[in-house]
């Protein structure tokens, strides 16, 4: 059994963020959201409610969508984390990002990184979701501006774009 470490000390935590293995120093009380934004300076992940209700801080941890405000940074040791910064391929937006942009599925934009990460998780699991499946899967993400319809349509469009890209890739 390992000890509690040195006093109420900081911990060194190793994680993989968007494909890069990195280490950071944190206190057990810091959330993954805090560390992503303040220590790793990945400020694309947004803070809304800080209590798990709004989904603005959604990231993928070992492929699963989680609200990073309800994950302790120390819990992420050894995990693969994907944030909004890891979605675009170089300077090319991916299908979900393009569909949000073209479909004007955002106004103030604070909810957008969370919605995009959640949509990425959905499309990875279910490449052709129905409208009902999209609405259910995105129920943990709140948006004060758009009224949701444009977001749902953007996810449908992203699914089409991705399917088309895959078919082109195959032919």
């Amino acid at each position: 059994m390992t000890g509690w470490g040195v006093g109420m000390g900081k911990r060194i935590v190793q994680i993989t963020v968007n494909g890069d293995t990195t280490e950071f120093l944190c206190e057990p009380r810091q959330t993954l959201l805090e560390v992503l934004r303040n220590t790793l300076e990945l400020t694309g992940t947004k803070e809304g409610c800080s209590n798990g209700n709004c989904g603005a801080c959604t990231v993928l941890m070992n492929g699963l969508p989680v609200v990073s405000c309800l994950v302790l940074a120390v819990e992420a040791a050894g995990a693969e984390v994907r944030t909004i910064e890891g979605v675009a391929r170089g300077s090319h937006l991916d299908e979900v990002q393009s569909a949000f942009l073209e479909g004007a599925a955002l106004q103030c934009g604070i909810c957008t990184p969370g919605f995009i990460m959640q949509a990425e998780a959905l499309l990875a699991r279910n490449p052709q979701p129905t409208e009902e499946e999209i609405r259910f899967y995105l129920a943990g993400n709140l948006c004060r501006c758009t009224g949701y319809d444009k977001i749902v349509r953007a996810v449908q469009r992203a699914a089409q774009l991705r399917q088309a890209a895959q078919q082109n890739g195959r032919s």
Binding site: M1, W4, M8, R29, N53, T58, L64, V67, L70
Partner: protein, 298 residues
């Protein structure tokens, strides 16, 4: 958030030992979807947080011939993603697919839902209906307890110093049985139950009479409860409207709801009757093998 120490333990013995060592000052962490916010708002200020989700026993998910075994740290998504489990123990899967949104279900565990012991916790009435029991491990060894005996008051339960929940066990499903959990909420998703009802039924060979019935109720008393009188009244009775109505009436009399911002006492009593009837109908349809595809919010 206040300062605390954190340790992820690998074995049950370590968890029990640390709980003992830091008696009253430690709290267990599973998915953190209750605890982390409770620490953030200062409701709980443990000096030690013991992460139990790496303990092998707590991650067990076995659908065996002698029943279903769900480790306390198994997150909801593993339950809803298990097709055969979701078919046989439908009420459990129904409850797990509405605990928070998808992000919460990636982390929220059955053990955490049980041990947080909220009156409106969604999985508890479902576990009660399915005849679940929990295996508890502590300094003095292990004990097993029916789920309906676990919670003692809002946010309170039977766990003694040094004890933790290891797994939840369910008996095998009888032939011609079906189950369902549903809650009444003002929205389709992401809300706390005004009334939550879990039911499990077993029918006779003609599919026309109840052999046995179990109903668990949530959000209508200080703890989730087993409506034992409903079971007694329906055993051996025909499956028809008057049996459903009788079950609803008895359930309404079994509860002690409060008035709060989600509903008045009178509303909860009325809604309990309506929900018991609907949930029993769905459980019967499933027991009969009818196409009973339940869509959340419909």
């Amino acid at each position: 958030m206040h300062n605390f120490e954190y340790q992820a333990v690998a074995t049950l013995d370590e968890a029990v030992q640390l709980l003992e060592q830091h008696r009253g000052k430690a709290r267990l962490l599973a998915g953190g979807t209750d605890l982390i916010d409770q620490m953030r708002i200062g409701r709980h200020t443990p000096e030690f947080v013991i992460d139990v989700k790496k303990i092998a026993e707590l991650n067990r998910l076995d659908l065996a011939t002698d029943g279903l075994y769900v480790g306390a740290a198994v997150p909801c998504y593993r339950i809803t993603g298990h097709t055969e489990l979701s078919r046989q123990y439908a009420a459990l899967s129904d409850s797990c697919c509405i605990i928070g949104g998808i992000q919460i279900q990636s982390r929220a565990t059955l053990g955490g839902n049980l041990c947080n012991s909220g009156p409106a916790a969604d999985s508890i009435p479902a576990m009660i209906a399915l005849g679940g029991s929990c295996l508890i491990r502590g300094p003095a060894g292990s004990r097993e307890l029916p789920i309906e005996s676990f919670c003692t008051a809002p946010s309170k339960n039977v766990l003694q110093a040094g004890e933790l929940v290891v797994e939840i066990r369910f008996p095998p499903r009888a032939p011609r049985s079906g189950s369902h959990y549903r809650r009444m909420i003002p929205r389709n998703e992401m809300d706390i139950a005004v009334v939550g009802v879990g039911a499990s039924v077993e029918l006779d060979e003609s599919l026309s009479h109840f052999v046995s019935v179990r109903v668990g109720l949530g959000a209508v008393a200080p703890t989730p409860l087993l409506a034992g009188a409903v079971a007694d009244a329906l055993a051996g009775q025909p499956v028809n409207g008057s049996s459903f109505a009788r079950a609803a009436e008895i359930a309404r009399q079994s509860i002690a709801p409060i008035t709060d911002m989600r509903g008045t006492r009178e509303y909860r009593i009325h809604a309990t009757g309506v929900m018991v009837q609907r949930v029993l109908e769905m459980a019967v349809a499933r027991a009969r093998g009818e196409d009973a595809n339940y869509r959340v919010g419909h």
